[in-house]
């Protein structure tokens, strides 16, 4: 709404005023009545189908509802189009996958497939589907539904855009009988143990054609086989799921799960405090710290699968080795990168930027995956500005008159350093790094840009260094693939298209390690290779790893218990690779003290509302009385 300057008044004659006299009161009354009607009508309109909502919530006194508060709205319940993390959380609740990840350490455990085996050459995989699993509408779930879901992920344009990376190697999917699925691949791959393709019911999805699927909402009582079913959608407000009491993995211990959306961190914290939600996730450090020690609340500084890095332009080239972009040549020199890496004080970054909610990083696979994580141990590089200066001196980068080092080729060590607009962490990181670079005789010009823009300049190789991060999946294959030669940008009809590489690292021995780990189905042998690959990245300072950050979660431990971390050693409680907390969470005592003081205040609130309404009514009556009195005058 606008704010307008106070304008000049105007006067009518007494004659016109007196002529209006008799009209004014009745007009006012009509206006008041119209306004009241309008408000009532709008209230009715704004609450979509209250009847439907009541249908979904029969007020049984024993019903247990667990409410999770989050900030990121679910963009779509259609698993072929949603992109945000909260949407994937919903898909996990509504659907099943062939193989799940254990809560202990992410190792593969039976999902819809109760067992599986690979052929000797590792190219043919057979999955045995559970018998007796039913869709939420009572229809039997069979191997045909699995084949349908995979075929759709392979053939459909929208579908493939979403799940393409799980099926790139797949050549054929078939169902010899109702409980067996056979998937054939072009080469052996451990990713066949982590096919995160949701299994959808063919009998309802066959009606959603290739065109419609791009905008299909999937909110009208969607049929699924997961532990929860979606029953109520209040866009950008909350989503209600009811427990599937005949779930093959055991009935969830709560009756209802509500995911409630908040627009503001502070509001999220308040909601947990006053008990209108039972758990919150992904809040700011400030709100998280304010909740520490609050009565009835337990905070969890959970380990997370993400890291942040300082990435370098190692000489941008396309996959055909054609140089592109305008990266600073000195960054191709490993000694310069190692010196920069030595000039970064990770302890300060963890202390000041993360406020201690994280740890200094080394290998590109975070410690949340203990089976794959590599750490240099005593060989770790430590922060030492004097040593960094000496390293540059030894490498022949001498200081010029202005204090900035000059390389043997006569080029000054002046770098562009890019940070991300959307992240305070990123802005803080680049500010610290620029300062340290200054202290070792380099000049970093910081630019803050949007992630979209940064993506574009990385793809074109038009950068020197930037700060960003990755979230790493339980299988290390993808993260390691990012550093292979094949992932560099490529040229297509005169246009540069970006791959996943953001360092343009290309090394034959690294590529060999990557290919080897892909074919090793024996976990121990594969682990050894994966650690070697990480060590190589560390030794060559392809990235300067900054830190692994934590995930903030907090919950009402006075009301609920059974929160299940993944991995068991301090992992996340929700937004896992699985639905462990949702399955296990239950009220602290059988006679749940869930609806505590809230109801009392609700009654008081309603009473206050009645008083206000009464007041308005009285006011209107009074006005009317006065009006008639005026008319009598």
């Amino acid at each position: 709404m606008s704010r307008t300057p106070v304008t000049d008044g105007t006067g009518l004659t007494d004659q016109s005023a007196s002529r209006r006299e008799s009209r004014v009161p009745s007009l006012r009354r009509r206006l008041a009545a119209a306004a009241a009607l309008l408000v009532a009508a709008l209230t009715a309109l704004a609450v979509p189908a209250p009847a439907a909502a009541e249908d979904a919530t029969p007020t049984a006194p024993t019903k247990v509802t667990f409410v999770l508060g989050i900030k990121q709205d679910i963009d779509s319940f259609n698993p072929y189009v949603g992109v945000v993390a909260s949407a994937y959380e919903a898909y996990q609740l509504m659907y099943d996958y062939l193989i799940n990840s254990s809560d202990k350490d992410f190792s593969p455990v039976p999902g819809l497939a109760e067992s599986w085996e690979a052929s000797a050459d590792g190219k043919t995989w057979t999955y045995h589907i559970r018998k007796g699993v039913k869709w939420s509408d009572g229809v039997d779930l069979t191997a045909k539904d699995v084949v349908y879901s995979f075929q759709r992920a392979i053939d459909g344009e929208t579908e493939n855009g979403q799940y393409g990376n799980y099926v790139t190697l797949v050549t054929k999917v078939s169902a010899p009988d109702d409980n067996t699925v056979v998937i054939e691949t072009s080469e052996p791959s451990p990713s066949m143990l982590r096919l995160l393709v949701p299994i959808l019911p063919e009998h309802t999805w066959k009606d959603v054609d290739a065109k419609e699927v791009a905008t299909f909402a999937n909110t009208d009582k969607p049929v699924g086989s997961g532990p929860f079913s979606l029953v109520e959608v209040q866009k950008n407000q909350f989503y209600r799921f009811v427990a599937n009491k005949s779930y093959w993995g055991g009935a969830p211990k709560i009756d209802e799960l509500v995911i409630r959306i908040f627009a503001d961190d502070e509001a999220l914290g308040q909601a947990l405090r006053n008990g209108s939600v039972d758990m919150i996730q992904d809040v700011s450090a400030a709100v998280f710290e304010s909740l520490q020690g609050a009565p009835g609340i337990t905070t969890s500084d959970s380990k997370y699968s993400g890291f942040n890095e300082l990435a370098y332009n190692l000489g941008a080239q396309t996959v055909e080795n054609k140089p592109i972009g305008d990266g600073h040549p000195a960054l191709k020199d490993k000694r310069v990168r190692l010196a920069i890496d030595t000039a970064i004080d990770r302890k300060t970054l963890v202390d000041k930027v993360l406020r201690n909610h994280g740890t200094a990083a080394t290998g590109v696979i975070p410690p949340i995956y203990p089976n794959w994580h590599w750490t240099p141990g005593d060989a770790a590089r430590t922060f030492d500005l004097a040593k960094a200066n000496q390293m540059l001196e030894d490498a022949g980068y001498k200081k010029g008159a202005d204090g900035i080092r000059v390389g043997p080729d006569g080029r000054k060590l002046e770098f562009r350093l890019f940070g991300r607009e959307s992240s305070e962490t990123s802005k803080d990181n680049v500010a610290y790094i620029a300062d340290w670079l200054n202290q070792v005789g380099m000049k970093a010009t910081v630019s803050i840009m949007s992630e979209d823009q940064l993506t574009a300049v990385i793809g074109e190789g038009k950068y020197d260094m930037f700060e960003w991060g990755w979230v790493v999946e339980p299988d290390p294959d993808f993260q390691l693939s990012v550093f292979t030669c094949d992932q560099r940008s490529y040229e297509d009809s005169g246009e540069i298209a970006a791959g996943w590489s953001d360092s343009f690292y290309c090394d034959a021995s690294y590529d060999a390690l990557y290919k080897q780990q892909k074919t090793l189905l024996d976990p121990a042998a594969r682990t050894a290779i994966i650690k070697q690959a990480q060590q190589k990245l560390y030794d060559e300072a392809v990235y300067s790893m900054l830190f692994y950050y934590n995930n903030f979660e907090a919950y009402r431990s006075d009301k609920f218990t059974g929160f299940t971390p993944q991995p068991s050693d301090g992992g996340s409680l929700v937004f896992q690779y699985g639905v462990y907390t949702y399955l296990n969470v239950h009220p602290v005592s059988a006679t749940s003290a869930e609806k505590s003081s809230n109801t009392l205040w609700l009654v008081i609130g309603v009473a206050a509302g009645v008083v206000v309404l009464g007041g308005i009514l009285a006011g209107v009556l009074l006005l009317r009385r006065r009006t008639t009195a005026d008319e009598r005058e």
């Binding site: 209250p50 855009g161 205040w601």
Partner: protein, 345 residues
């Protein structure tokens, strides 16, 4: 205002004449002219809206794929064809116009649904919240402003106008945050915001009303200040007008003189402001809706900006502009009925 100007503004010598004039307060030609002006403005907005979002740098097709990196060129080319990006601008404009006429505002990138469907889901909460706040503020503001203007210099006036000036300068979102923190722990109102409580046992509309109290309060407080200041100043202008002396001389009560004689004349600037704000009802209050997690168009705009979800933003801009234009047209058409001087010019 002097006696001479008021005298020249007498609508007519006899009551009958005035009645006839009122029926012809606005001629069909005038209506047509106003309609055309509004349509012209709307057309201008459509053009601006089209070009504004096309001069933004960057490739919209690349914004589609998450983190933009795994964009397969074939898919990108397909997307560009679907979005009509390869076409010359006049063809793009033509197809944009054609789909506009069909009521198609494109497809939201962030929500994977048609923009019209997305907006339809968010418009009523906003109209409810902003509309209620506007009506409340107008009513209370009118009462406060007219009284403090009429009783100029009294303690009531001093208190009312100084608090109005203070409240006028308070940002709504700050007030919202302060209320949120201050009321937390009392449980009086849902300080965490939202429009409905998933655990509520109340009937739907009561729950909505209960959740609406705080955001509505934040919004109205600022508007009340605005309305009462306007009302007060126009009342001050009327206070010593001759016709009021006449009214008093007739022996009418002071209260009646104010309400029946001074108020209707002082209402004109207030009406202008009211209709202007009506146009802004749909754009809602971005900050208040965000602080209180209210699922309205303001919050939708905030989310769309963060994407950025260009088709959605484009659709929202168009709807917001259209609302202002329509309300201005409405006010234009109504003025001649309220103010005789507009009739004459």
């Amino acid at each position: 205002m002097t006696a001479t100007t008021t005298a020249t503004e007498r609508p007519g010598p006899s009551g009958g004449g005035a009645r006839q004039r009122r029926l012809r307060a606005i001629t069909p030609t005038q209506v047509a002219r106003k309609l055309l002006t509004a349509l012209g403005t709307l057309a201008f907005v459509v053009v601006i809206n089209f070009f504004l979002f096309r001069v933004i740098p960057g490739d919209p097709a690349k914004a589609f794929s998450p983190r933009g990196r795994n964009a397969d060129p074939e898919r990108l080319a397909q997307l560009r064809r679907d979005l009509g990006l390869g076409l010359p601008w006049h063809e793009q404009f033509w197809s944009y116009l054609k789909s506009l006429v069909r009521g198609n505002l494109g497809e939201s990138w962030g929500q994977h649904r048609p923009v019209t469907a997305v907006v339809a889901g968010y418009i009523w909460p906003t109209v409810l919240l902003s509309g209620t706040a506007l009506v409340l503020a107008a009513g209370i503001g009118m009462w406060l402003g007219s009284r403090s203007g009429w009783r100029h210099g009294t303690r009531f006036d001093k208190l009312a106008s100084s608090s109005a000036v203070t409240l006028y300068s308070v940002p709504e979102w700050l007030l919202g945050l302060v209320l949120m923190v201050a009321l937390s722990g009392t449980g009086l109102f849902p300080v965490e915001g939202g429009m409905v409580d998933p655990r509520s046992t109340l009937p739907g509309f009561l729950d909505v009303a209960w959740h609406m109290v705080l955001p509505c309060f934040c919004l109205s407080v600022v508007y009340i200040a605005e309305y009462s200041l306007i009302m007060r100043s126009s009342m001050l202008d009327e206070r010593y007008a001759d016709y009021l002396t006449t009214a008093r001389a007739k022996g009418l009560r002071d209260e009646t003189v104010m309400r029946r004689h001074a108020l209707p004349n002082a209402l004109l600037p207030f009406t202008t402001l009211f209709f202007l704000s009506m146009g802004f009802v749909v754009s809602g209050a971005i900050t208040v809706e965000t602080v209180f997690s209210w699922p309205g168009l303001g919050r939708l705009t905030y989310d769309a900006l963060r994407g950025p979800d260009i088709p959605l933003l484009q659709g929202l801009f168009l709807i917001f502009s259209a609302a202002v234009i329509v309300m201005n047209l409405f006010a234009d058409l109504l003025y001649p009925f309220i103010d005789p001087r507009v009739r004459r010019s």
